[in-house]
Structures are given as C-alpha cells and as structure tokens.
Symmetry: C2
Subunit: 116 residues, 2 copies
DNA sequence: CAGAATCCTGTTGGATACTG
DNA sequence: CAGTATCCAACAGGATTCTG
C-alpha cells in the first residue's frame, strides 16, 4: 500500500498552526473526525468506513482524541458490548478545518481530472 | 523540545481528506505555506520565521512542495547566491485550509484562556 | 547564502495473536 | 464486539560536518 500521507513531528514553539495540527495531524484523525461529524459511531462502524485502519491505530487515535476532549466514549451495556464515540462541543470546533481540507482535496482532484 | 505534533502515514485509498493531508501533513508544511502566502521568501528568511526548523528538514519540505507543484524555486544570480520560494497558483489553493487551521488554533487558545 | 552528505536515534504503525 | 499485547521493519528528523 502506498504511503499517501506522512506524519509530522513538530518540535516547535506553540503557535495556532501547530496547536491545531497537533490534533488533526495524526494518521486517520481527519477521517475519524469527519465520520463522527454526522453523529455518533461505534468502533466497528468506524473501522468499516475507514477500511484500512488497523484496530490498533484506530484505538490509539480514539484514545488521544478522547484525552484531548475532542470526543467522548460511551460504553453501552449489553452483550456483546458496544461502544459509541461522539464529537464533543470542542470537537465540533474542528469541523471548519476538516471541511476545508475535504473541499481543497476535492478541488485538487477536479483540477487533476481537468488537466489530464 | 516537546513534540507538539505527530506525523502520519496514511496507507489509505485516495480520498479528498487524505489527498489534501498528504500535502499539508508534513512537519512544518503548514508553516511554510503560511509564510509564503504573503509573498516570496528566501531560504534563510524561512529559517528565520520558522525558528526551530533544521536546514535539512526545510530543504526536504521545500523540495517536496516543489515536486508537487505547490511552490516554485527561483535561483537569483549573484554572490552569495539567493534562492526564492513562491507559492504557485496551485499552492494558493491551500490557503483556505491553512487559514482554517490557524483560525481554529487561535480559537482553541482563546478557549483555553477563557477556561483558565 | 543555500544547501548536501552522513550518522544515528526515537517513533510510527502494520501484522499477528489473544481476551472479556 | 471492542479492544489489548507483542514484535518488528521502516521512516522521520536532529546534530554535525562540508561545499559551490
């Protein structure tokens, strides 16, 4: 599988750009936030819509986002157990960025199609 | 130095989100684009405004962005030689994202300040 | 000035197997 | 279902040194 995106370490003094990138810069993170924007999703649902993400990475990213207060994790009693993830109010703050990323990505695709 | 942002590998089928993140996800990349948005900058100017970036990384990112057509590199004759980097028209397409990232980052900062 | 080259370390993240 | 644990290869990126 081709590496499409690289990750970034930003040993950098705090600034708005890196503050935000620190949150959304993780692998799969924009995708996770995007998919939660339309409502709560279960772990397996997220795995399904972000097909190639491993359980390990998805767990890792979800935990990070939870620690940062971007989303909340709710365990629903039952057997088998289900767990729901939902964006917090803070998490919603990132939607303008995610939307902008998506729009520009789409525009790049259109542009590439037009050129070639 | 604290790691403020992580980097991401996204072994992922192409989608608008990862297409765009593939470009801006690299370390320092948002900062580079941001600093070029107000006009061409020389190598040393970029190093100055992105203080902690090493020459190696700055070079690497600039080359990547050049290869992707995001910016153009111009060698200005003279001694000592100077090199100018400028956003291309394609590069300008990323400004909405960079701006959104900056705005949200700022809002996060304000929010944190308000919460104490 | 604007890099290139080399060395070297920490981190990332996939694969696989196991669990309550 | 929703993870956890372990192993490991690949890569990122800092420090340092050298150059046209």
């Amino acid at each position: 599988m081709t590496r499409i995106c690289r990750k970034s370490r930003m040993p950098h003094p705090t600034c708005p750009l890196s503050d935000c990138m620190a949150v959304i810069g993780g692998a799969w993170t924009p995708n996770i936030i995007w998919n939660l924007s339309s409502g709560p999703r279960r772990f397996s649902e997220l795995r399904a819509v972000i097909p190639l993400v491993s359980a390990k990475m998805l767990t890792q990213r979800l935990r990070e986002l939870e620690d940062r207060g971007i989303l909340i994790r709710t365990v629903l009693q039952g057997s088998p157990p289900t767990v729901e993830y939902a964006l917090t109010e803070l998490g919603q703050e990132f939607m303008p960025v995610i939307r902008a990323i998506s729009e520009v990505g789409q525009r790049l695709k259109d542009r590439a199609a037009a050129l070639g």
